[in-house]
Amino acid sequence: MNKQIQVKVLFFGATAEITKIREINIEIPANMKAGELLNQMICKFPSLKNCSLLMAVNQEYANAEKMLEDRDEVAIFTPVSGG
C-alpha cells in the first residue's frame, strides 16, 4: 500500500464560496504534486473550473510541479484583488 500523507487545504474568497469550505485536512498519496491535488479539488468541486486558480504551499506561491510533503499547508485561491 502506498504511503499516505496529510495536508491542510485552505480556500479563500471565491474558492471558499464555491467549496463552502475554508479549511480541510485530507489524506493524499505521498509524492503527490500540487497540480495533482488541484485537479482532485476541481473534480470534487467542478465550479472551480470557472475561476483562474493559484496555489500556495506553506504560504509561498507554488507551481503545479511542487511536490507536497506531510503536514503541508496548501491554499487554493483566485488571482488577488486587494488594494
Partner: protein, 155 residues
C-alpha cells in the same frame, strides 16, 4: 495582525484606518518627504454602483508578501521607512482600504517607491475584494495569472 521590522511596519486590521497617524508613524530626521497613498472604496466602477465592499485575506501569507515587497522596495529605491496597512472586513464607500506610506530623504524616491509598492501589492498580496451591488455581488479576480511570473499555477 501586524509585523514590525527595522523601521518598517505592515499590518492587517478590521478597524477603520487613521490615515494621518499611519502616514506620520515615523518622521525620520534624515527624511524630507513622506508619500502616502490613501486607497478608498469607490462608489462607481465603470458606471456600476457599489454599495459596499468586503475584503478577505490569507493573513499569514499576506503579511509575508507585504514584508517581501517592503524589503525589495528598500533595494530598489533610496527610502528610509515603509508603512503598509490594509483593512479587512466590510467597508463602506469612501472608507480607506489601504495605506502605503513611504518616507525618504527626497520626494522622488518616495513617489516612485509608493507607486511600485501599491502596484505590486495588488498583484501579489493574497487579499480579495467582493463588491456588493444593489442587484448582486461578485468576488473580484485580479490580473490573470498568465501575466504573472511562471512560478504561479494557472488554469
Amino acid at each position: 495582525m501586524e509585523k514590525i521590522f527595522n523601521k518598517n511596519f505592515c499590518a492587517l486590521t478590521n478597524e477603520p484606518i487613521d490615515v494621518g497617524s499611519i502616514s506620520r508613524r515615523l518622521v525620520p530626521e534624515n527624511c524630507g518627504a513622506i508619500v502616502t497613498l490613501d486607497g478608498f472604496v469607490r462608489r462607481f466602477t465603470e458606471g456600476k454602483e457599489t454599495l459596499y465592499l468586503v475584503y478577505e485575506a490569507y493573513e499569514e501569507m499576506a503579511l509575508k508578501e507585504m514584508q517581501k515587497l517592503v524589503e525589495t522596495a528598500h533595494e530598489k529605491y533610496d527610502i528610509e521607512a515603509v508603512t503598509i496597512v490594509h483593512r479587512l472586513g466590510k467597508l463602506q464607500v469612501g472608507e480607506t482600504s489601504v495605506v502605503v506610506a513611504v518616507a525618504a530623504p527626497h520626494r522622488k524616491a518616495a513617489f516612485e517607491a509608493c507607486q511600485w509598492l501599491i502596484r505590486e501589492l495588488k498583484r501579489t498580496v493574497p487579499i480579495w475584494k467582493k463588491e456588493i451591488y444593489s442587484d448582486g455581488e461578485k468576488w473580484i479576480e485580479g490580473e490573470s495569472p498568465q501575466k504573472l511570473s511562471s512560478n504561479y499555477v494557472s488554469d
